[in-house]
């Protein structure tokens, strides 16, 4: 039987991926952000998830305005990276989990969530960076990710965006879907994005709001779901809406959780950087 073994929230600022590729995690100004993943790696070795559902916002790579879903899930056998404008990357392939993907689709549709399905997807840095932080492999982000991956995109490109409440409910529905899957799966749910920032703008970081989010996501996620998107933009910048990915994650990893690791790093580029690993099994680490 499938179960959710943990939930991770993490920033995906592009400099994180570049720093990993250059092997400079220990020497950059935000080195503590990378160091904060040490307990995550210990936890991974103990808990051994074998599928990662990665909730993230596409950054103008896989989806264009001609056809923009609100929620879209990968149902492919594999996914690939592509040039996002910074240069052709070394090609990487990410193994999919189509049985679980399709089960989630069926469960969501039955619960009246109209999710789009993608049999082929270019996997954005937002998703890849999160996976490389959790499974650093050779340490420079070039390795194969050793688990199967299910990308799930939340629209943050073309407004209007799904409401925080809708995202929270989607998370709950994903959680129920995973728990009703007959196959064996140890699922890590990853919410990639945030925290406060706005593209091309320094000075949009809101430390107080970020710390509030990190507190409430653990103790009272419904509090965050009561904001409107416009309120979150005012508080956390336009890209602060990436908080939605954490909200979906928390909806999936519902109920009481213990915090395995948590770190706020101000700044990573122009972003309030953050990471948090939640364990629903109530063990203290």
């Amino acid at each position: 039987m499938a179960r959710i073994v943990g939930g991770l929230g993490t920033s995906h600022v592009p400099i994180i991926g570049r720093t990993m590729a250059a092997g400079k995690q220990a020497s950059v100004s935000f080195a503590p952000f990378f160091a904060s993943f040490a307990p995550v790696h210990d936890w991974i070795a103990r808990v051994r998830p074998d599928i990662a559902i990665v909730l993230y916002n596409d950054h103008g790579l896989n989806f264009f305005l001609d056809n923009m879903p609100t929620f879209a899930i990968g149902v492919g056998h594999s996914y690939h990276n592509e040039d996002e404008g910074w240069g052709e990357p070394a090609p990487r392939l990410f193994r999919g989990a189509p049985d679980l993907s399709w089960h989630i689709v069926q469960s969501l549709i039955a619960e009246e969530f109209d999710i789009s399905t993608c049999r082929d997807m270019a996997f954005d840095h937002a998703g890849i960076t999160a996976l490389d932080l959790v499974w650093p492999g050779d340490g420079v982000g070039h390795g194969d990710i050793p688990v199967a991956v299910i990308p799930l995109v939340v629209n943050a490109v073309q407004p209007p965006f799904p409401t925080p409440l809708r995202c929270y409910k989607l998370g709950h529905a994903i959680g129920r879907a995973i728990n009703s899957f007959a196959g064996d799966a140890r699922v890590l749910v990853i919410g990639s994005g945030g925290l406060s920032h706005e593209l091309g703008q320094s000075g949009k970081i809101n430390r107080d709001f970020d710390l509030l989010c990190m507190d409430k996501i653990v103790s009272d996620p419904a509090f965050l779901a009561r904001y409107s998107n416009d309120e979150i933009v005012d508080l956390a910048g336009a890209q602060g809406l990436e908080l939605m990915n954490w909200i979906v994650m928390r909806g999936a990893v519902s109920g009481d959780v213990s915090v395995v690791a948590s770190h706020y790093e101000l700044p990573i580029s122009h972003t309030g950087g953050a990471m948090m690993l939640l364990d629903p099994n109530g063990k203290d680490h």
């Binding site: 103008g60 305005l65 040039d83 996002e84 404008g85 490109v157 073309q158 407004p159 998107n229």
Partner: protein, 86 residues
Amino acid sequence: MVQDLQLGKFNSVVAQKGYALNKLCYSLNKAKNRAAFAADEDGYCARFGLNEEEQAAVKSRDKRALMEAGGNMYFFAKLDRVRRPA
């Protein structure tokens, strides 16, 4: 000036503008397109059918101008990734 235009918030006027501009920016995901754009920005804009406002916004790289022309920040951010020819 478009009224009440704020990044990250829905605006019904700009939602209907800037499609050609955004499509041009989306094409810049590909290296060969970035090279073609860098070599001849005006020609590239003409091939995508940008109107005067869109073309001026691209030329200026001004964020506000790009937004007013209907540019979406996820796409016009890719303009900054074009390397100028040496």
